[in-house]
Amino acid sequence: MIRRFQHPVAQRLISLLLPCLVIVLGWQLVAELVSHWRGVPFPTPWTTLCRLGELLSGRPLTGHSLYLHTLTSLVRWFNAFTLAAACGLLFGVGCARWWWLERMLAPIPLLLLLIPGLAWIPVAILIFGIGEGATRFMIAVTAFAPIAQATLHGIKRVDIALIRAAQMLGTRERALFFQVLLPAALPALLSGLRIGLGNSWRVLVAAEMVVGTGSGLGFSIIEARWSLDYPSALACILMICLIGLLFEQGLFRTLERRTLERWTLTGRRS
């Protein structure tokens, strides 16, 4: 059925709409069932969408507009993620460059990857107290590990033939690192950033719920729950989804398409 729509735009639209339809139908089904069996009003997709519309047109939620909550969350996330990305890249590059650094530090991201984001809550609160610092710490620490790991492995796994080719062309060590190893590791680097981004966005919301700071999307969800304002809670979840999608698909997919697919390191072969 889908094959018949050959036009690329039509195909894209369908591949976008079809999963949405499935989600909406499933959601509706759950809402109906929950309302029927448990007798509590579960917000349907339509009620949620209406509420999102109201919130977007200025209805305040726990004292602030949805825009402010979103902006707070974004700024918080951006600060911490930038820090984590910088540290992760430096870590990976450093470990790939100096073997003794790798010997010493390489297991750290591996260990960090094993620790679920929420487990950092007590540590974060102990170090920073309740508030902004703790949230940022949690975001940074969850984003750091995949970025560091991907950078280190990306550089270490560069094809030896590529390195030899560069050496044979007269490249010295420094240039080899920056002009061959780093670009060749770019696919791994980008995927590390993408995973780090997803992880940290998720933990941001969770961190705001627990180490609450008075604003932000995660804080709003938990507050809406206390006041039994379930449609608003779901509207916030929807917002989180949309923003995540925007970053993942909008930013990183575009980056990947523009760089990697042009030099087909990751295959889009059709």
């Binding site: 094809d159 033939a161 030899r164 560069a166 044979m168 030099w263 390191l265």
Partner: protein
């Protein structure tokens, strides 16, 4: 030009362990300047090791290798290598790939561009300067790989089964391009191949490699006039002769080395 003096090479994880079986053993070999040498032989008997030693990618366990009377300490643009798979940098376009080596050897921007364009023209790729490696066919990629070392004016070309992954038609075209370039520029060529026909068509001298300890099984000079005809009786006779030599060797050997390729 190349001089191998009692060279042995064994691969092992610990450098002080000396009982790992050597892949090359006590090999002495002289390759004069401008000679086109093809190396034939079963897999696993050290052909690629020979090339990697000549390129300076690896060091011999024992013995000495010199190039133009200088010991080989590492890779150098004087000894250009063409690998089996064109190892072009996928993040640079064709021109960028050729410029890469030039820029790392101190050419000014304008000079490098001129050299790169000339080299691309020599291999017939000037139309594709702006293309990305991923867009090219295997044969075109190998042409660019040759262009990027030609631009550096190497004295020797080291080629490791460069055309073996190509279709027969591209292979023959590239062989002819290579011969043309070699006759004009007079490089010393060390050319590893599995194809007896290719060796017979290209070489001044064919080395047939066997397993250690007697790596150099046959050393045959071919003084057939050029240009040669692929279908000529002389080539066919030579092919038959080389094949008889090859048949005396085991067809393939257990790899006894790590860390290569």
């Amino acid at each position: 030009m190349f001089h191998f003096d009692r060279v042995s090479k064994q691969y092992s994880d610990q450098p002080h362990v000396t009982d790992a079986p050597p892949i090359l053993s006590d090999l002495s070999l002289h390759i004069p300047a401008h000679q086109f040498v093809c190396v034939l032989g079963p897999s696993g008997c050290g052909k690629t090791t020979l090339l990697n030693l000549a390129a300076g990618f690896i060091q011999p366990s024992q013995g000495r290798i010199t190039f133009a009377r200088q010991p080989i300490n590492g890779p150098s643009p004087h000894r250009g290598v063409v690998f089996q798979d064109a190892t072009l940098f996928p993040w640079l376009n064709v021109l960028g790939n050729v410029l890469f080596g030039l820029r790392h050897n101190g050419y000014s921007k304008n000079e490098a561009k001129k050299q790169a364009e000339l080299a691309l023209q020599q291999v017939g790729m000037q139309q594709h300067a702006k293309d990305w490696p991923a867009m090219l066919s295997g044969g075109m990629r190998q042409r660019v790989a040759i262009a990027r070392i030609l631009a550096l004016k190497p004295q020797a070309l080291l080629m490791d089964e460069p055309f073996s992954a190509l279709d027969a038609n591209s292979r023959e075209h590239l062989q002819d391009t290579l011969l043309e370039l070699w006759q004009r520029e007079q490089h010393t060529v060390l050319y590893i191949t599995h194809s007896v026909e290719e060796a017979a068509y290209l070489a001044d001298r064919v080395l047939i490699f066997g397993p250690a300890p007697h790596n150099l099984h046959t050393d045959m000079v071919i003084d057939m006039p050029r240009p040669r005809l692929r279908s000529s009786m002389a080539i066919q006779k030579l092919t038959k002769q080389l094949r008889e030599q090859l048949n005396q060797l085991p067809c393939c050997l257990k790899p006894c080395h790590r860390g290569e390729n």
